[in-house]
Symmetry: C2
Subunit: 815 residues, 2 copies
């Protein structure tokens, strides 16, 4: 391997450090108009009227659009590949501007003006009359008898989808399984546990806010330059929302400053396009604020898991059940997919001897809309699962590592529901490697000794698995294109999107590896443009290195093949066609050399089967002996009067495989009991993501994910006013994400098992790092304090409340 | 035909009228730096020093670069495809900034500043010390004994190239031919004629000035957005000029406001790139003024033709000779190609019974640099040739139409020098059709009657031929790419450039025709980007519809083939794969229908050979019966869970054919003798450009060309001060191009013979219209007045001088 597995410097490192990299806002044309959105000031109701007369008088205001002006078209927003199967199509439940208000801050009008000040002035002068309905911010309220259905045209109640799954030989319900357990093992040999675990609503907090600008180009092309993870999906849904054919919409995605799934939804792009269309196609920019982003775009689902389990006293899990309730907020967005994913991983992390039962409910409420966020239901699933496992282990007095090694899914397992095989599966290897790194045995024994006093220590762990992409539930397809340059370098175009994760770098490595062109001479085009880029569904589901990477490898192989075709032509026609060229000597010498190497006569035709491309040199395949620089071949292929060919290749990879990544997190903590503060003494994560294409960027991915998981576990919690549905902490001062000061040293290692299905043996790595740190810390706190925290985040307030309730600390009187 | 030959509205019509179309200046990013060039104030010499100290103090000045700062690299600028054969490579004779000054206004320094005012202030404060040499603005001076060689590193004298060609059985010189004529026909039966004809130096006067902006992007990509006809050539020569590999340079060409050949040269793009590189890659814009454009970019060559001819008294041309001297100015640019082209057409318009001799000289002088301009030497050639033919006809008293019909090259003729066959050649048909339209016979007879008085009338004609593209002299290669959209529309990408001539429209028509997709659903990407667009050498030599059009046709056929592959799959797998899809009914019905149409059983496999794509419908080939809309196929190909393919195609057309267009112009004029004013009473042009793809845009091309030719013949003349080399009329007030008020009604017709080599039978049309109007008017004046004007333009001054000399008017005393 010359490029894959080498820790190449990111292709965009220098450009991003120096500011060469262009983001959406850098590309705005001169004389652009500004747009702003008017948000509802109620959480549930109906807009009866909007008086725009005063607002229209503001100098600089060009146009005001309200929910009464937009097309009567409902469209979906989830960044899923569209489906030609009705059952897999996303839910169409919102308009460009909504008359029916379902969240506090719903989009009901917008202003287009020559400058932002005029926009703001006009927004303040809009007068809205509402019909108000009672607000339901929780699943309980929305599911209550007689609760108002928020989308009566689509659902008679607020259940978006409910699904019931069982795993095991006989499709037992938990109660049936429990009965069987009692019969088979005897009541005295089993232990049961029942507990509700809860997770927070979270904002993604990507650095770059959702921003776009739109204009109508020649040919009536509605063009949107935007910060999105899913340009081709934005194209399609924008077309649906506007009621125009997809070919009339063009999406351009420059570099983007993070997305974490929030930009795996179609956000304000369709409205932005409509705004431009309403002002004669002039460019209009629409950048929303941090506050609007937090309350009005998407959030991580708050999922509550009601669990039951039965285990033998020697640690054999017999049966588990989870009822998961996902609060989806006012609009479906990714709908049931996230809660279903939560349910799947509950099943897929452990194998229950008798059986597993899962019920998943996804519910409309008047809370902020939940959608995709890095991990896609699995951080919630693993929080629930891994709290439960440690609670079970504690109940039977078993080492948490032991119970996991004993019950986790084995390599080669095939999920009966989705048919995915765990082709390579280094979970056990990761657990053991991590245990050694974290000194699990020694630390566990040390902290198991009775502790008292204000500071107590513990070590905890959590495991996870994560599948790679969305096959076979949905479509996995990707395309790639390569084009030769005159100097022997090449362009690589992916439909897949760099969103900060380093995708462009690993694609470049794979293309270099597969083509034989030097890494430094593979120029990747980072901007996706739905008019010119190959198709790809985008950045999500940790799919790109695996799915799009295969397209990349495939196109690079085809590209090399076409180069070798030309090399074959050059070597066989060295005398007649090249005599007048500046390369006559090089080509003649190469033709002579390969015939000598192959010990054949001067008349023998050279086959491309004897050739290879290595390090940008045409070489004799067996010996690796260099024959001709690719630069000479390229210059000739472009400019030969005898045979001019513009070498390019374009391929689709329809991926029909999947496989599981996995890993473990070990966290060692010291808990300050009276203050309820958790200090992470050490945190170690070991991942099995197959063969790592680039260790530096892979470690970067894991670092970011671990930090986000610590936020999930300790501080991040979007608070919603139950009376109005208004978000109470829609800003980065009150919504607490970890800062550089809060994040401890993060230790990362890998177990590299080659996956037979992934390009160069890789599998998902993007999302797995965001899963396990939170429950590992929770389980460490459990060891340190004996207190089982069941609700994330484990804030000081929650910890001290729990410690007080457990009698571990006393109430301090402030007087 | 559904698209080709139909007068479709231009694809960019609406966009250009409404301002949706984006030109270079529309795309400039915010906070761009401004660049300006300092031009020499001498015409021949050496820069000894440049003092920048005062200029650097101007607030806002960021950087000043002089000829002492730039890389010591000489590079070419001609918009020819590069060649891997030394003999065909263009001359490298200039640097980014030149210390050796060879024209008045040479580029010797430049300023980069935060705004244009600071640039101007700094330019005024530069202090330059020169060593001055005598200025030679004419060919005579530059060829004189002892004249200083302007490029002594490349040529020992100022002759860029001299070529000598003969045509006829025995390679006779003219003198040998004359001898043979006398021997064979007898002196009494032949007439000889000797005359010098001269042409003006002309500025292109495109509306949009040369403008570009450059920045360094991620991956160290030197990116230039510029108004050019030849993006891929600009890429290569910029790389040469900067000493970097071509892959590091990226050229983006938005819509451009005309070029007429001036932008078929690499102008300020390399300097602009270098300016950006010297300020850390920040964007720098460089737009030059109209004045700088006129004196400092390129001009049409002033070519003087010394001719001799011998003809029998009954009008058989026996032998002709032309010695052509082209004043190339200070730099080679397109070098000898233009003067050689002038020589070629002198040979190729008529067949001389005994033989033809041509000598072409291209000469460096200190006049403004000459380069490509629409017509590329042929307006000069045809001026010389067609003045000569009319003078011969007059001398023997023969009708000018008769002598042309008798002697012009016949269809099927093969040029012995370049091997080009006149495959289809409607010159005679055009002459006869035009004669009828212009009422040649009647008018000629009428105006042959003796005239006197102040106003005299005449009718004249001139013919022309023009080959299509540059094969076999240089490379003709073009690539194209098509991509299917989700809605069944498609993208078409050409490397060929729309420069206002309507290329995008005819490409769209051809792609629609060949693919079977509706014209309205073929979206052409008009911006060429050397990173993403297919390769093409660019807009010149009237090559695009013929050469790039073939790539377009080829790719559309391949694209259709891939669509039919998918249609075949759909029809054969209608039952199993489509049962769950929303298209189940359509696909099943289509499968049933085609089997019925073909009278085959349900089990019979459908072959794509039975299918076609017509009007965006998959149809049964023989009956044309529609089976399935392409929109359904496209949606399925994108999103099918069974078979997802992103249908695209990319092709190269290495064109190894050529053919000749031709035509005629008839002009009827009234000459105001005392004022020397020429009124065009009627002007009719008939073109044979093969099958016309779009008559509306074709007529537009001819109108523009005729207007330019009238400027050539009557008013345009760039005046150079013989002492300094300074252009005396470098502005649009003093350099007289025809205005809308000056241009008469222009009548256009076509003779449409299908050319076997061109796509859909087309051949060159871009340049032919610029050739014949000037000599036709000249020959009309000859009939009207009996005065043979030998120098263009035929200004009032020149006409009255000639009339006075001929005794037709008297000197009017002003006192």
């Amino acid at each position: 391997m010359r490029a894959v597995g080498k820790d190449k410097i990111r292709v965009d490192a220098y450009g991003k450090v120096t500011g060469e990299a262009k983001y959406t806002a850098d590309l705005e044309p001169k004389n652009i108009l500004h747009g702003k959105v008017y948000h509802s000031t109620i959480g549930n109701g109906l807009v009866k009227s909007i008086d725009t007369s005063e607002a229209e008088k503001v100098p600089g205001v060009v146009k005001i659009l309200t929910c009464f002006d937009v097309p009567d078209i409902q469209f979906p927003t989830a960044g899923h590949p569209w489906s030609v199967e009705k059952a897999h199509q996303d839910i169409c439940d919102r308009k460009l501007l909504n008359q029916r208000v379902r969240i506090y801050g719903d989009d009901i009008a917008c202003v287009i003006a020559e400058n932002e000040v005029a926009c703001d002035q006009a927004l303040r002068l809009l007068k809205v009359e509402y019909e108000e309905y009672p607000v339901m911010t929780t699943v309980e309220e929305a599911l209550a008898e007689g609760a108002q259905a928020l989308h009566p045209d689509l659902r008679k109640d607020n259940v978006i989808v409910h699904s019931h799954m069982t795993m095991g030989e006989k499709d037992y319900t938990f109660e049936e399984g429990l009965k069987k357990a009692k019969e088979e093992y005897g009541e005295e040999n089993i232990v049961t546990h029942e507990q509700v675990y809860d997770t927070p609503k979270i904002s993604h907090c990507h650095i770059e806010l959702p921003v776009s600008f739109a204009y109508v180009d020649v040919n009536d092309k509605i063009t949107i330059v935007c910060s999105t993870q899913i340009p081709h999906i934005v194209r399609l849904y924008t077309a649906m929302a506007l009621g125009v054919p997809a070919g009339r919409v063009r999406i351009i995605k420059p570099y983007i400053g993070g997305g974490f799934g929030n930009k795996q939804d179609v956000l304000y792009e369709p409205l932005n396009a409509y705004m431009s269309m309403q002002v004669g196609g002039r460019p209009v920019r629409l950048e929303i604020s941090r506050e609007e982003t937090i309350y009005g775009t998407r959030t991580r689902h708050q999922i509550t898991g009601h669990t039951k389990a039965v285990v033998t006293k020697d640690g054999q899990i017999l049966s588990r059940k989870m009822e998961a309730f996902a609060n989806n907020g006012g609009y479906a967005s990714h709908g049931h997919a996230i809660c279903a994913n939560c349910g799947n991983v509950f099943k897929e992390l452990y194998i229950d001897k008798i059986g597993t039962e899962v019920d998943c409910w996804t519910v409309y409420t008047n809370a902020p809309t939940a959608g995709a966020m890095r991990g896609y239901g699995i951080p919630q699933s693993v929080w629930i699962t891994e709290c439960l496992i440690d609670d079970l282990a504690r109940k039977i007095g078993m080492d948490p590592l032991e119970i996991r090694l004993k019950n986790c899914i084995p390599a080669g397992f095939k999920d009966p529901h989705n048919g995915i095989t765990f082709h390579s599966y280094g979970l056990k290897e990761a657990m053991l490697k991590g245990a050694e790194l974290a000194k699990w045995k020694e630390k566990r024994a040390e902290y198991d000794k009775p502790q008292s006093g204000d500071k107590r220590r513990g070590i905890g762990m959590a495991i996870f698995c994560y599948k790679t992409g969305v096959h076979p539930i949905a479509l996995e397809t990707a395309a790639a294109r390569m084009v030769l340059n005159q100097d022997g370098s090449c362009q690589l175009f992916m439909g897949a999107t760099e969103i900060g994760q380093g995708a462009d770098t690993v694609f470049t490595q794979m293309a270099a590896e597969a083509s034989g062109i030097r890494y430094e001479e593979v120029y990747i085009g980072s901007t996706q443009d739905t008019d010119t880029s190959p198709f790809d569904t985008g950045a999500y589901a940790s799919r790109q290195t695996y799915v799009s990477g295969m397209a990349c490898k495939k196109v690079a192989e085809e590209f090399k093949d076409r180069i070798l075709d030309y090399a074959e032509y050059m070597l066989n026609n060295a005398v007649q066609d090249f005599s007048k060229t500046v390369y006559v000597e090089e080509v003649s010498a190469a033709a002579k050399k390969i015939r000598e190497l192959l010990s054949v006569s001067e008349e023998t035709e050279i086959s491309k089967d004897s050739l290879d491309l290595v390090d940008s040199q045409i070489v004799e395949k067996k010996s690796g002996n260099p024959l001709l620089p690719l630069a000479i071949l390229a210059d000739t292929a472009f400019y030969s009067l005898d045979k001019s060919v513009h070498i390019a290749a374009e391929c689709t990879n329809h991926c029909k495989s999947n496989t599981f990544s996995s890993g473990v997190c070990y966290a060692e903590v010291e808990v300050d009991m009276p203050l309820g503060l958790v200090e992470i003494l050490r945190i170690v994560e070991v991942h099995d993501s197959g063969i790592i294409i680039n260790h530096d960027t892979a470690r970067g991915q894991v670092h970011g994910g671990m930090a986000q998981s610590l936020g999930f576990g300790l501080s991040e919690d979007l608070l919603v006013d139950p009376k109005t549905g208004k978000v109470l902490n829609a800003n980065l001062l009150d919504f607490k994400i970890p800062t550089a000061m809060d994040v401890p040293d993060l230790e990362v290692d890998f177990v590299e098992l080659e996956d037979p299905t992934g390009p160069y043996g890789n599998k998902s790595l993007g999302e797995p790092p965001v899963i396990a740190a939170a429950p590992a810390v929770r389980n460490a706190i459990l060891q340190a304090t004996g207190v089982a925290m069941n609700v994330a985040p484990m804030t000081s307030q929650r910890l001290t409340d729990a410690f007080r309730e457990a009698g571990l600390i006393k109430t301090i009187s402030v007087d």
